[in-house]
Symmetry: C2
Subunit: 340 residues, 2 copies
DNA sequence: ACATTTTATGAAAGCGTATTCAGATATTCA
DNA sequence: TGAATATCTGAATACGCTTTCATAAAATGT
């Protein structure tokens, strides 16, 4: 390992005090130009690199953000994470990433995080109620919720307008003539699931259709559940002719379930997803879906968090942003059929 | 923000010195059981959480690993990253993730990293030659290369046996009767591209076939390139009947190119990918591919890096691991046809 | 020309922890 | 019983940086 060069070494070499070196590094005023040059020269010659940890210690900030992701291999989350990482870098922050497949993992991570390893946290997959996380927010620890939000009103979040997203999706199906529309999603303790369900129900009602509980499947946010729920839906006595699935990955699984049952998409069962992950646009998939703007969502979340950090102490009122969803019409709803 | 509780506070409450609190926290021997209990009680009552930054400062280790990823939205990398993050957590390490779409970004990150923000780095997408990275390795900074490796022999890496992977893929195509096989990949300054090319060429030769440079396309590791290269390949005078594409994402793009040209997969053009990302197994895709074991690769990389950290000072000889690739036969090579 | 302000710099303190050093008490051994 | 050893704990120091405090020199104002 290279011997680390410290400000002290630089100071000795430049013939000044260590404090002066620090002043040069931090662009303090009141540093003589000549002195500054001497110091810069010494820094260069010694290849000095500041020790971030020591700086963090002195400043009481880490310049690192925590990022909680429930499943990084879901393209929705990896796109979101990428956006967050890139924006954080632009603003001079590092991102420590936590994969929280299970809830207890998130809990242990939270303990970690209170050890002042990060200045703030972005949650991408929080439950509506989570006492540990709520405690964190109430204690004033800077948190921003992205994609999924906490019920707690005092918390800031950047989410898709899920209700609206669901509405435009379901409305599209109804306009195509579907009267019997299934809904597959995760549990209602997630804002995404709850709000999309509300949008689904509201739209069905608005069009004078009956809300049939048999058509509503709320289990888990994973492919296996989507697959089995689809199989169940298509085998009930009066099966749906279309299914709105709460995310693209699950919609892909639903698609397999339909095909495995010997039915066709969209002729027998139409499908709409949510997210618009890249693969949904593939020529062989062509999934109709509600697009989310992961890039924007991630960027805004970082911006908001960094803002919170800079106005430390003076707590502002929380920010609540709902991004506009957009229906992407492809072929799994019978677009081609409708065109004909 | 909650007022942070320090060891000093705990010490005062427990009526002992700060040093003793530290001893209790670190399970030092020579601490009276009664004292230990007093301290533990105070810790609990005050809700003390150690300050990781201060600890890092004292110990001169951050307990954080850097992870360089070229494109987190490529499922191959997100699966790899997930594995790395999870394994690191198991071993008590945090992961700071760096997205390096462009090379200059990686360079600026490297400067960051020398600021002792992390104890070591895992590179997943290094070039064979990269003077900045080589300098880091030569300076003794703990680095492990995962997936792609450096040419530098003194560096440790965990990679797929890319040559072998290419060989089994191409052999499979040849066994199916293909005599004219295209190859699409990224530039040869990446070990993955180079080794797979070697495997391709060697296998073609071994089977007495002619290596036709017209069939070899080496441009960039991205979808646009894969698409256009495919279009080019299928429009040359004597076009290939099969194409080996260097990764699944690119193979998916190649598939679109074939279909857009009005040809069929696999009847007109057979395709093999590399990686076996999840979507490749989807019912509508069914891409034949060479599987990599991202989970294992990531885990081993972390294990190796953490080992390097523990045996600090005493530099061991570098570890070179080639993981066994595995051919996953699906339908894009005419498996169904072959079966008939 | 003297008081005041501005500019410039070093010494020292502080961030929160781990650890060394030294001393005190208790225990063991001959 | 005295010496050697083991057990326990507090004071002090170090980690590398930022920043306050103090002080000195230079510039400015009247």
């Amino acid at each position: 390992m290279p011997v680390p060069v410290t400000t002290k070494d630089v100071a000795r070499k430049a013939g000044v005090s260590q404090a002066t070196v620090s002043r040069v590094l931090n662009n303090h005023h009141y540093v003589n130009e000549e002195t500054r040059q001497k110091v810069l020269k010494a820094i260069k010659e010694l290849g000095y690199q500041p020790n971030i940890i020591a700086r963090s210690m002195a400043l009481q900030k880490t310049h690192a953000l925590g990022l909680m992701v429930s499943d990084l291999t879901n393209p929705f989350y990896s796109e979101l994470a990428k956006s967050i990482i890139n924006r954080a870098k632009e603003l001079g922050y590092n991102v420590i990433i936590y994969n929280t497949d299970t809830e207890d993992v998130q809990a242990t991570y939270l303990d970690f995080l209170q050890q002042r390893r990060v200045d703030g946290i972005i949650f991408t997959s929080v439950e509506l109620k989570d006492s540990k996380v709520e405690k964190l927010v109430k204690a004033g620890f800077p948190c921003v919720f992205c994609n999924r939000r906490l019920k707690l009103k005092t918390s800031s979040f950047i989410c898709s307008d899920n209700k609206k997203g669901a509405k435009i999706a379901v409305k599209h199906l109804i306009n195509l003539g579907h009267k019997h529309i299934g809904y597959i999603s995760g549990p209602n303790n997630y804002s995404t699931a709850l709000e999309r369900l509300e949008g689904y129900i509201e739209t069905v009602r608005e069009h004078g259709l009956h809300v049939d509980n048999q058509l509503i499947k709320q289990g888990y946010f994973n492919n296996d559940y989507a697959y089995s729920a689809t199989r169940e839906l298509i085998s009930i006595p009066n099966p749906p002719t279309a299914i709105f699935v709460s995310n693209d990955l699950m919609a892909l699984a639903a698609m397999e379930a339909v095909l495995d049952a010997g039915l066709r998409v969209p002729e027998d069962i139409a499908l709409v997803g949510y997210d618009d992950i890249k693969i949904s646009g593939h020529k062989l998939i062509q999934l109709t879906t509600v697009a989310q703007h992961m890039e924007t969502m991630g960027r805004l979340a970082v911006d908001e968090l960094v803002q919170m950090l800079s106005r430390d102490g003076g707590r502002q009122k929380p920010v609540h942003k709902f991004l506009e969803p957009e229906l992407i019409i492809r072929e799994t709803c019978g677009y081609r059929l409708a065109k004909k």
